[in-house]
Symmetry: D2
Subunit: 337 residues, 4 copies
């Protein structure tokens, strides 16, 4: 039997504890270290997980030759430095989304990982949910026909962050899902409009539009200023349309056999005319997405699987976010080269 | 007792019969004529309303000196000509939305009506609903505080029209509502993006963004290509937020006493923090909007009320639609002078 | 070509005008009379339908040898007398639900119609909706397996009626649907419990339970005292389960491929275990139910179709209502002989 | 500072781990033991909570004079014996719901606890939720006026249990809530009807009706055979009505200012007439109910609070469950003496 993979979790704020809990559930992996600058957090963690070594010193774990990998769950601005040090020390890396603060940082990390022959994966957890996996497989199988659009609403009353705007906070989910199910379509331009009503420092609400090759349009509405919580994606195609409502506890995905009939014969249409067949609600795999992802990361380290979200995929998300910032700041449409 | 106002309905396709039904319910008004180019429609109407004179000749009714007013419910491209003839003949005019096909046409009509001292009203029916009236009164009373945004989704599987795009078909509702509740705010720029997947002639799905003075942003998502029907508006302000869901049969308007707390102290927020009080669902006036509007039109003719949607208000809607077309065609942001 | 069937509508309160509107839409039928005791109502109707003869005298129309049929849409207490006179005069009869005020009255009418060889149909409109027709066809085709239960909620804030209790007002819909989709199952006993909080004269809220042969249980919750409107039926079987939500504008019927796994091995079950496959939302016929029913009535008169709801079916509903009254008044379970 | 209260958790199947997690969060309490017959479960627990002593021998912990209290989270049939032994050993007891398998067992335990002057509390967790606390306070403050009814649906696709029927599994929640908000009303009779379609051993679906003094009726629909999950309670009164939808993530409680107008003047009502004012959605305390309850239990042990659900309250629930069984088995209404 192979030895267990040793992993360290860096950053134990909101997301880190979820990583620890899920990696701990895997049989062939051991969470050896938890690292954070906040000693109080480390202390609380140690009470719950007496078997994990806690430290405020990154070098403690990077120097450990038995450590195979790190998972980085810190604020975005620190991603680049932490990942670079970990790769330099020969560790595989799983990075929290978004991958880094700029396209340039992402590119450097991708290059470094490639040179060192290390795994560099980005944690876009939604891609491991039963819902997104089902939608991807329907779209790839041609079930919806020609893709027309991707339209997402991810809004709620959220804490305004000091360092990143609402798109960097919420839209990585939608961009990664959109890229994943439309894999192969090339984004060509980005327009975004944002507002800062409360903080006057970061955009708190934004509409992001991505135009893909072939006329497909993706639109993402992200907001920290909505009185209600909505997590809803509509995906349209020439044959079918999909509704993905992540709030619905039991019917997250609905597939509609619907299409529009063009009627140019009559001048004043009396009533809408369209093709409308049955809809169905597929049963979804209900395994926790992060558990599936943690297992996948370990399998990738062992060379048994290829990463679902590699450095290029992580970079593709940041490229759109960076263009969105340019667009919001300039008021202009940004072409992606 | 005053004599009854005589009115003619021009165009009895989809909307015309609704106008006839509602004007017929008023005691101090008589629907004297129904006019359409389609003789079969006129025949069917005559069976239902034996008291109405039907004709395919506009001049028949314009020449009638006892006719006070016309309501024009024909396709948009014909609005200008019909309205001009009616005004020239000295008739008051109620025009179906949108007012006309261009800003220039709207301006000419406005001028003509003013010169002739005739009433020129545009039928933006939604402004007469209990829901919009309640929202307007809340916003005007300062209940939501400083306005932040207006965000509307008006999507469904709809018949693709031969002559107008989806914004001209659906967005007049939202633009008129937005202008009405934010009365006094000046729109400064427009950006829109649309797609033509099916017809290759008209935009079938579009996102329209209007930036107002003072940073308020309005966004309207209109689509004929959605598998589900959504009619939802969110209105945010510094003190409260409003959800207007026109599909909900009994709870169309909800007012949330919610706001966001900015927290710049901690670097990695653990959990969202916000102010969240009770919400309430106001009881709405349930009178049919079009009946209220028909009565208002008659009262305006009699000089007893001032028109809610005069030529300038109708023109303001067309100005934004025209800018949206420019933006969709050029891919650029359009400044409103 | 056959001559048109002449029909009279008796009672033009709430439902009568709907009958008039739909029978008027049929090509091979003429609404010749409208009869009511209230002259003002007749006058208003005459303005809208100048071609219909209005009268307060039943004999006017019963004496007309060209009249083929009557539709009776008056309060329940008057059904028996009106139907008897119409049958005596040789007219076919369509009766508003419930058929009559007692089982005995229903039996007499059934006998009379049979003797005179006249059609006697009861207007249980819901059986003609696309939703109920689809459910019936699924159940009859064995799609749900062995039927287990029928569970209906029909509650809202309703006007308390002076002469009938809430079960007689609302439950005929559910009882007729239940009997229709479970055709062949024999009801064996009835228990009902009701409350009179407001009127102290009629039950305003009731729970009705019907036990069928073979252990199937039907339950109907009817109420005029609910703050929200619910129209929801669950139908369970050994293979599939159906949700029928009549409020949902577009997804009224859902069919769930779900069942329960019995697990008697372990003593303390940790988590629920069940079989859970896809669900689907069948597309429904959207023709107005009453129009379909009106056409069916005319076809039955012409001998081209067999009545969907004949006197026996109408009587079966009243038998359960009568037993429910006995149960509510006595506090006991009532066996149906 | 007072010493910590030592508590043991007996039974670590489904609910026990929740008790452990919440009691562990309290500062003035220590979970000293976890006891279960299943050694594997104990082992798994020990890995997560190294500080807790695990044992399969009840006597190990009952003999510990430093142990203050036990929480019993085992199957119902074992409640009586375990609680009796714990009380005999001088320990305070928190029992999982329902309190015990018969009224007689409950009475014995109540007597025993009283004699030994020990705390005997029953874990009806729902009474500690923000939703139920808010509803109770509204009802007690007279906000809904005279209470009319309590109507609950608690249905889903659930595992059929080998030893208890669906009412004993699900209805304790509703009965305890009903008793709590209608405190002071005396239940006078019970009728229940159940079906066994799958197991042929235990009722899998049931309708339970409780008639209270003064005409208030409580109805509970409990089912393991529903394709969808519903957790919905309607509470009606003469002035207001409450909807409590426990599935709704953010708007669990709505208070409707609605009532019914009796109209006995007109014989054939044309349209429903009712009083209908605003509704509101109160903001609820969101603390985890079990944490609040655990804290309350510790405070009761220290004599600082009076138990919310004492032995008498626990017994009142079992009394109704026992009567429901009698009713289902006999087909008769059961009077409560």
């Amino acid at each position: 039997m192979e030895r267990k993979i040793n992993i360290a979790i860096i950053g134990i704020g909101y997301w880190g504890p979820n990583l620890i809990r899920n990696f701990s559930l895997l049989g062939d992996c051991r969470v050896k270290y938890a690292c954070d600058l906040n000693a109080a957090r480390l202390e609380a963690l140690a009470r719950q997980y007496p078997g994990i070594i806690t430290t405020t010193h990154l070098q403690d774990l990077l120097a450990d030759s038995e450590l195979d990998a790190v998972a980085i769950a810190t604020p975005v601005f620190s991603h680049f430095n932490l990942a670079r040090q970990a790769l330099d020390a020969g560790k595989h890396v799983l990075m929290e989304k978004p991958m880094a603060a700029t396209v340039r940082e992402c590119e450097e990390l991708r290059l470094l990982a490639a040179r060192r022959n290390l795994l560099l994966m980005v944690d876009h957890t939604f891609l491991y949910t039963g819902a997104v996996r089902k939608i991807r497989s329907l779209v790839r199988a041609g079930e919806i026909g020609e893709p027309y659009y991707f339209d997402s609403e991810r809004i709620n009353l959220g804490l305004i962050q000091p360092d990143i705007n609402v798109l960097w906070d919420l839209a990585p989910h939608d961009i990664s899902i959109m890229n994943y199910i439309f894999e192969g379509l090339r984004p060509v331009s980005v327009f975004a409009i944002g507002t800062m009503h409360v903080s006057h420092k970061v955009y708190e609400m934004a509409h992001l539009t991505v135009r893909f090759d072939g006329g497909v349009v993706g639109h993402i509405h992200a907001s920290w200023l909505s009185p209600i919580k909505i997590r809803k994606v509509l995906i349209g195609g020439s044959k079918k349309m999909i509704l993905y409502d992540d709030i619905d506890p039991s019917e997250k995905v609905k597939v509609y056999d619907r299409g529009v009939v063009v009627n140019f014969a009559q001048e004043t249409p009396m009533t809408p005319v369209y093709r409308s067949g049955d809809a169905y609600i597929p049963q979804l795999d209900s395994e926790e997405a992060l558990l599936r992802e943690a297992r996948h990361f370990i399998h990738c380290i062992r060379g048994e699987e290829q990463p679902l979200v590699d450095a290029s995929a992580g970079l593709a998300v940041v490229r759109i976010l960076e263009a969105a910032d340019s667009s919001m700041n300039s008021g202009r449409v940004i072409e992606l080269s």
